[in-house]
């Protein structure tokens, strides 16, 4: 614990030298790789993906591999355009872009609110990830206060360094985190199969467990290799998650902090190194099955989230397990920091400035942003401490469904403005409601609770698919039909403040700003219109 704290504090000191100034210095390929990696592959990923593999196998866990594989070609295609237009117009959030492109405050607000709603539970889950680690380390006692104390300390560190250092801090710490994670995973992948009797027996144990009948459902526990019925689930989960990944405002924040538009594309080619890591990590879930770890939590209930921390605790010497836990804990702080900055930007730019106080000065904006980032984190903490952890998990599941519904407005908007702004707004609203209701109707057969998973039958069929993608298809259909209707009725279309050449602009071109200028500018979109 002390080891971790000193690490955090030293990074914090470095950052205090030059707050946003350094963070605003545009990031090159190398830093961006770490920043994006630190951003997208979170402590929650490191706990939850193997936990899903441990509990129910390939469909709910290993889909993460095709998911991260297909994410990067998709990013390669559209992110460079978003970079260009954002750097010419001073956009910081996806909602800024929507506001400038469609001239619609309502649509921009919809995108901003979706972003904040999706980010909150995500931050909360980072804290859940840390809690799982602390619980395994034996930190915290049985009463509520002692149990939550380590989490509160970690939280205070997170809040302090984000407040004082902005984006620079997570970028720095991402180096430490990724280095630690790489070492830990590589050691685990080469060492553990040796201890546990080889890959053959690990996969064998997993296959056996997945084939066993679950007494609560009367069906097999999980899937070792998806059968016919699971094909659609598997690829819709992969594709839907991939499309949603870069709709999250914190990924956009990281992408916009790069130096030139090509840094984004170059990263699309080298980020898959993390996918490989993730795939191997997922297999740790199977190793936990083979090693027969005990996943009972302090409250006496089985909790698959504990599978990986327990596996490390059981199979490694304590000093190495300590490093692994530190890596996971730091791994939670980096994305939580970037996410809270992204959520704060959304609030400041697209709610505070757009609706509450349009005349806000840049200094005032920065202050509001800092405070908002604190509020977001406190909100996340309250989630974890006051509410059932499963609520955070449910909301995270909903977050993925929600955030994908901003895809038509943002990504399609980068290529064409044919979609009508009110059609987009209606499609978004219907898909949000549909996705939420579908997810609510998924009842876990064992616990009889709602929000039992992210798969539901496609309407009028018996084929389960990822709800987010089903809602997305519905969304796009509505947008297309209504666009025809609104165009026929000649409903006013709003003003587009972007120009076709904006989408190809690069660093050094006339009107293209570096990140510090963008931040000081306070969103050119609202200023211009």
């Amino acid at each position: 614990m002390g080891f971790m704290a000193s690490r955090w504090r030293s990074a914090g000191h470095l950052d205090n030298l030059d707050e946003w100034g350094l963070g605003g210095r545009s990031f090159g390929t190398f830093v961006t790789w770490f920043l994006l990696g630190g951003d997208l592959y979170t402590a929650y990923t490191f706990i939850a993906v193997p936990a899903a593999m441990y509990a129910t196998g390939a469909i709910s866990g290993f889909f993460a591999v095709p998911y991260t594989i297909v994410a990067y070609p998709i990013v390669f295609v559209f992110m460079a355009r978003l970079w260009s237009v954002s750097h010419r117009h001073g956009y910081v959030t996806p909602a800024d872009f929507v506001s400038g492109r469609y001239g619609s405050k309502a649509l921009s607000l919809a995108v901003a609110v979706t972003g904040i709603l999706a980010l909150m539970p995500y931050i909360a889950l980072q804290l859940v990830g840390m809690q799982a680690v602390f619980e395994t380390m034996g930190l915290g006692g049985n009463n509520t206060l002692a149990k939550d104390l380590p989490l509160l300390i970690a939280f205070a560190v997170l809040a302090a360094y984000t407040y004082s250092s902005g984006l620079r801090a997570p970028a720095m710490i991402a180096f430490v985190k990724d280095f630690l994670i790489y070492v830990v995973i590589l050691v685990a992948i080469f060492y553990l199969p040796h201890v546990l009797g080889g890959w053959d027996s690990i996969f064998g144990a997993a296959q056996e467990k997945m084939a066993k009948t679950n007494p609560a459902t009367g069906k097999p526990t999980g899937s070792f290799i998806p059968g016919n019925a699971g094909y659609v689930s598997y690829w819709t989960l992969g594709l839907g998650s991939a499309m949603a990944l870069f709709m999250y405002p914190h990924s956009v924040t990281a992408v916009l902090s790069t130096k030139t538009r090509n840094v984004v594309r170059r990263n699309a080619a080298i980020l898959p190194a993390y996918s490989l890591l993730l795939g191997l990590l997922a297999l740790l879930g199977f190793m936990a099955i083979k090693a027969n770890v005990n996943v009972k939590g302090l409250d006496g209930l089985a909790n698959p989230q504990l599978a990986i921390p327990r596996l490390f605790d059981q199979e490694f010497p304590s000093w190495f397990a300590g490093i692994a836990f530190a890596a996971i804990a730091v791994g939670a702080l980096v994305p939580a920091a970037i996410m809270s900055i992204a959520a704060a930007n959304l609030f400041t730019r697209n709610i505070y400035r757009a609706f509450i106080k349009p005349s806000a000065s840049p200094a005032e904006e920065a202050k509001v942003s800092k405070l908002a980032s604190l509020l977001v984190k406190v909100g996340a903490l309250v989630f974890v401490l006051a509410m059932d952890k499963t609520i955070a998990l449910n909301l995270q599941l909903l977050g993925g469904i929600w955030i994908l519904q901003t895809f038509p407005a943002i990504v399609v908007g980068l290529y064409t403005r044919w979609f009508h702004r009110y059609a987009l707004l209606t499609g978004w609203a219907v898909a949000m409601v549909f996705g939420t209701i579908s997810a609510y109707n998924v009842v876990n057969p064992a616990t009889k609770k709602h929000f039992g998973g992210s798969l539901a039958n496609i309407p009028f069929t018996n084929t389960p698919a990822y709800i987010a993608l089903t809602a997305f298809v519905l969304n796009v259909l509505i947008v297309i039909v209504l666009t025809f209707v609104f165009r026929a009725l000649k409903v006013p279309d709003g003003q587009d403040t972007t120009h076709p050449t904006d989408y190809l602009a690069d660093r050094g071109d006339p009107g293209v700003k570096d990140l510090p200028e963008i931040l000081d500018d306070g969103g050119a979109a609202t200023a211009k219109s």
Binding site: P73, I74, F203, I270
Partner: protein, 94 residues
Amino acid sequence: MSRLSAVRPAYWISGVLLVVAVVVPLLVPTYAKADPHLWGFPFFYWYQLMWVFLSAILVSISYRLLRAEERRRRAAQGLGDPDAPDADTEEAGR
């Protein structure tokens, strides 16, 4: 005409490569099986891990094609190369 034929292939080839990198890893029925095993890994698992590499290679090729293309376009418009300090020398001469 010569310019038109110079522009098209880069975009078409990149487009096809990227579509392949997205679609093939999602064709679940083509790889949802256990055999052949590789170092104890069932086919389902090692095949998908292999696609991490293949996809990275496809995206890299697209990147190189498009970068060369974009440089040509920017040079024609009299714009500088923003990646110049760390650009590969082999392509700077064009």
